[in-house]
């Protein structure tokens, strides 16, 4: 009887794990990113993926002046896009300034990483805007 109960509990916990498994790539990415940070890989539906954000992948280039300038310009453009939607985040402009200062001092790796962070902020702000358009009403009392 005890053994049966243990098996039943085990079976239930296993099926719970299956139910809780992410059912979209986005969920799987966010789960793994939150658990392991950047620079890791995870498998979702039989395929291997990286936990790096697209901007971090963009920044993984040779650290030189041209690449740093290109990523900074790209981050600025993305931030202008989110500002137009009135969803700009507070720290982004400052991060871009820091990236420019690092590039000016010849610290190109630092500049690339900061520009990637700024571009990520901007992209998230744009995603937030689109989410808000569809969902803002959900907390309105009825």
């Amino acid at each position: 009887m005890i053994r049966k109960t243990i098996f039943a509990a085990l079976a239930l916990s296993l099926s719970a794990t299956v139910v809780a498994a992410p059912d979209s790539y986005q969920d799987a990415f966010e789960l793994n990113r939150a658990m392991y940070g950047k620079g890791h890989t995870f498998v979702w539906q039989g395929k291997e993926y990286s936990t790096d954000h697209p901007e971090e992948i963009e920044a993984a280039v040779e650290a030189n002046a041209a690449n740093a300038a290109a990523l900074i310009a790209s981050a600025k453009a993305k931030n202008a896009e989110v500002a137009k939607l009135n969803f700009e985040w507070k720290l982004t402009r400052d991060i871009i300034k820091k990236a420019e200062a690092a590039a000016a001092k010849g610290e190109f790796r630092k500049a690339l990483n900061l520009a990637a962070q700024a571009k990520y902020h901007a992209r998230m702000g744009i995603e937030q805007y689109h989410y808000a358009q569809a969902n803002w009403h959900l907390s309105v009392p009825e």
Binding site: L91, T92, Q128, A132
Partner: protein, 287 residues
């Protein structure tokens, strides 16, 4: 007879139910300010059953007894008293051309705060009291005042003082759909999550009201604009509602809008409509 009475009662309850559950609306075709206002009051009645609706003009002090005790002690010698006096002096000091603020406003600017903000059909925009104070100055050849603090908040405080206990009466005119669009824009802003912290105004002041956020307790959304401008202990001085808007917006880690931007004026329009029927009790003092 019993069946007929029961049916009539049922029909009456059904009608009441329909009225109560009227969709507050999320687009220009359906948005219904009155349904929003009633739904908000119903929300807080359920959330804090012991608090009287009229008491929400006192913000967090309507629902948190220990904070109220401290606030009542503070109000024995209100920190905004000198600002009202200075505001009155400024209000009555003539401009270089001999005219004054009283010449710019209805009823000489006395007892009008509770009608602000309002929809100006000719200009197609929401007008706030502070906006008209500065317009008055500019129309009379004076330089505009800074929006957030200082003299503008003192003049506004004096004008609010003359409107104390008058019921807030914000209109969304039905003959101009742009007014409803401005109201909807303010409503949408209030409920929209934004910034790196992904927070909406409602997250703190609706769902989060009277729930500790780090060391603070956010006040309820109902009654939020009735007592402005405010002497805030954190500031150590008087400030306008839009100063607080900017701070709140920044606190969500958004790049904040500027005081008197169209976004903030529409937000004030929506929030003030929610307070219709409550009394104007500015200026106030807050933590």
């Amino acid at each position: 007879m019993k069946i007929k009475t029961g049916l009539m009662l049922g029909a009456a309850l059904l009608t009441a139910g329909i009225v109560q559950a009227a969709d507050s609306g999320f687009d220009l075709e359906t948005v219904n300010p009155e349904a929003d206002r009633k739904a908000l009051q119903a929300y807080f009645k359920e959330r804090f059953p012991k608090a009287e609706i009229e008491d929400y003009v006192n913000g967090i002090y309507a629902v948190d007894a220990p904070s109220r005790e401290q606030w009542e002690a503070l109000e024995e010698f209100p920190p905004y008293e000198f600002d009202i006096e200075e505001g009155e002096r400024l209000f009555n000091t003539p401009f270089a051309n001999g005219k004054g603020y009283a010449d710019c406003f209805e009823n000489g600017g006395i007892g009008i705060r509770h009608n602000y903000p309002y929809w100006n059909k000719e200009q197609g925009t929401v007008k706030t009291l502070e906006m008209e104070i500065n317009e008055c100055r500019e129309n009379n050849g004076e330089k505009p005042l800074r929006w957030s603090k200082g003299d503008i908040s003192r003049i506004s405080a004096y004008m609010a003082w003359t409107s104390r206990d008058m019921p807030i009466n914000i209109q969304v005119p039905k003959d101009d759909p742009r007014a409803l669009a401005a109201y909807l824009d303010g409503k949408k802003f209030y409920y929209t999550k934004r910034g790196q912290l992904n927070l909406s105004c409602a997250n703190c002041h609706l769902q989060g009201s009277n729930i500790r956020v780090r060391a603070d307790i956010p006040g309820p959304m109902l009654g939020q604009t009735t007592h402005w401008p405010v002497f805030r202990s954190k500031w150590g001085e008087m400030g306008t509602l839009h100063r607080r808007y900017k701070g709140c917006h920044r606190d969500s880690r958004s790049r904040p809008d500027q005081p008197q931007s169209e976004t903030f004026r529409n937000l004030e329009y929506f929030q003030s409509y929610m307070n219709n029927g409550l009394v104007s009790n500015g200026p106030g003092s807050r933590k």
